[in-house]
């Protein structure tokens, strides 16, 4: 049985015109224009099952958004195959389009000059949502996102966080089975980010919706996604669970110490790599398997006032992977 979302050898090449800077460059380009081909996505393959919440991670220009745009039918691929719920996205069949939604953090699909409710009504007409189902779903979303007071406010008067909540509600009125989210928390403050995350988690749980999320905030990925896909220079360099990612790449832990008396840096260096040292405060990086042994040693032989052990952050892990991939 084919996967809910199946991507095979997907590739997208863009043609870009090259032009020298300045007036002379502009005049030259009138007569002769060089163009180069840039592969934004280089033949990636993956499968996603129904109900999965997958994080798509990568630096700027890695190919995340291009991939999402091909999965949603906005872009035609250069080669490769994609099946989403059994449909080929770029054929843009109505039955397919009624079953998914796309939300982009940097773009607005609502009617800028009109109250939020009008955008809801417009989508009701476009997606042919029966009135009773529309009202029920609207009420659920309004409550979950706490946007009741915003429905009669003009979209252009909303804050970024409020707008994103309303964008999500607009995109979910037709109860999509698949949700493509491109940086939905970009530019939001920490409270708004948390609100959006809580909502997405709840939506995934209650509606069993399949969600693909791209984000620069690793916190989004860590808190929401069971599976992480890491894309770099158009290639998929990791595809697996968050836990496996940590086990595979985070082979060290950090021990933070607060001491009652000054000790020497040399004495601590024998136990691990000292990444920070200020006399009575220190940070040690030690291999994961030696954490218990080193902690015991520290408590036994050093004047420890406070001790804490930290996992490597997701940002550090991903940064390591990118560096590794770049140097290959």
């Amino acid at each position: 049985m084919p996967s809910f979302i199946s991507v095979s050898h997907l590739k997208k090449v863009f043609k870009q015109d090259k032009r020298q800077a300045g007036l002379i460059g502009a005049v030259k380009s009138l007569f002769h224009r060089e163009s180069v081909e840039k592969a934004a996505v280089k033949g990636i393959s993956f499968d996603i099952e129904e109900g999965e919440f997958v994080g798509f991670v990568g630096p700027n220009g890695a190919g995340k958004t291009t991939t999402l745009k091909m999965l949603s039918g906005i872009l035609h691929p250069t080669s490769g195959e994609v099946s989403v719920m059994g449909f080929t996205p770029w054929k843009r069949q109505s039955e397919f389009q009624k079953q998914f939604s796309l939300v982009m953090g940097q773009k607005n699909q609502m009617w800028f000059d009109l109250p939020v409710e009008e955008s809801f009504e417009f989508n009701r007409a476009v997606y042919e949502i029966p009135k009773d189902i529309f009202e029920k779903q609207k009420n659920i979303l309004v409550e979950l996102l706490d946007i009741g007071s915003l429905l009669n406010t003009q979209v252009r008067k909303l804050s970024l966080g409020e707008r994103m909540k309303c964008e999500l509600a607009t995109a979910l009125l037709h109860k999509p089975r698949v949700l493509f989210l491109d940086e939905p928390t970009i530019g939001l403050d920490v409270i708004s980010q948390k609100n959006i995350r809580d909502f997405l988690s709840e939506y995934n749980r209650t509606e069993k919706a399949t969600i693909i999320l791209t984000s620069h905030y690793m916190e989004d990925i860590r808190r929401l996604c069971e599976r992480v896909m890491i894309i770099h220079h158009g290639e998929l360099i990791y595809n697996g669970s968050y836990q496996q990612l940590r086990e595979k790449y985070a082979d060290t832990k950090t021990i933070e110490l607060v001491l009652s008396e000054r000790v020497t840096q040399d004495s601590l260096s024998k136990l691990g790599t000292v990444s920070d040292f200020r006399g009575t405060m220190a940070r040690l990086t030690v291999p994961r398997e030696r954490v218990t042994e080193v902690t015991t040693e520290l408590l036994k032989n050093f004047p420890v006032d406070d001790i804490s052990i930290h996992e490597e952050s997701m940002e550090e892990i991903v940064s390591e992977i990118f560096q590794e991939a770049t140097t290959k």
Binding site: I74, L75, K98, W111, E118, F122
Partner: protein, 260 residues
């Protein structure tokens, strides 16, 4: 049916927008009034020196002009601004949200901004029609006038299809303002009876790029001008352009590159 529902919803939302920005209704009224007045004066000057123009009397020429402005009014209200903004929207990747929606894409793209403030032009055009009727040597029947308006709607479809074809080229060349401006300017040729264009230019503007027919043909139908099977040919040309525009648009869409 669904297309009609979405179109009506677009009309409703844009009407609500108009109520927010109502000043532009009066600005539009003044601008359109000045344009029409200038051309009426020109016609008055021409007919001061002659009694007919390419076989047309003053009232009929004014009727051609009235139908031309009627077609222009409808395009100004419903889609002209969307075509003007299309290049910029394409470069900014604004088509993304339209492409993913289960609705006719050209409807969402070219009827998103409906300018009901430009409906002010219809008031001026109705005044022009009244002035044309007063100058006709004999009154025209209601049935023929109605037929004239039906052909004016066919002209609107033809005009839309031609603009759609021109706009689709933007998928390849990214910036297409010059072509669109050219079409807007060439369309002004249909302000006068098609018979004033002779030989090869007349043939081109009647059959190949039938812009000369936009205002002329509805007027010919209304005044029962002897033109053989031209109305049937005109409908055929419109259907041809409509489907050509649609197929070309679908092909152009495969070249869409969006924007980050």
């Amino acid at each position: 049916m669904k297309t009609l529902k979405i179109f009506l919803k677009l009309c409703e939302l844009n009407l609500k927008k108009l109520l927010i920005y109502r000043a532009s209704f009066f600005i539009s009224l003044a601008l359109m009034g000045m344009w029409v007045m200038a051309y009426v004066i020109l016609i008055e000057v021409i007919f001061y020196h002659t009694s007919t123009l390419a076989g047309w009397n003053k009232g009929s020429v004014l009727l051609v002009m009235s139908f031309y402005y009627f077609v222009q009014n409808l395009s100004d209200i419903f889609f002209k601004e969307n075509f003007e903004q299309f290049g910029d929207n394409l470069r900014r990747g604004e088509l993304d949200f339209n492409i993913v929606k289960p609705a006719p894409l050209r409807l969402l793209t070219f009827f998103r901004e409906i300018r009901f403030d430009h409906a002010a032009g219809l008031l001026i055009t109705s005044g022009l029609f009244t002035y044309a009727f007063k100058n006709l040597p004999a009154p025209i029947s209601v049935n023929h006038l109605l037929l004239g308006f039906i052909f004016a709607l066919v002209s609107v479809v033809l005009y839309f299809s031609m603009l759609s074809i021109i706009s689709t080229i933007t998928f390849w060349i990214q910036k297409n303002d010059t072509f669109s401006a050219l079409i807007f300017n060439v369309t002004q040729l249909s302000r006068y009876p098609r018979q004033i264009y002779r030989q090869i230019v007349g043939k081109i503007l009647t059959f190949a790029l039938p812009l000369a027919l936009l205002g002329s043909l509805p007027a010919e139908v209304a005044v029962q001008f002897e033109n053989g099977s031209l109305p049937i040919i005109f409908i055929g040309i419109t259907i041809g352009f409509y489907f050509l525009g649609r197929i070309f648009w679908e092909y152009g869409l495969t070249k869409y590159t969006s924007a980050n």
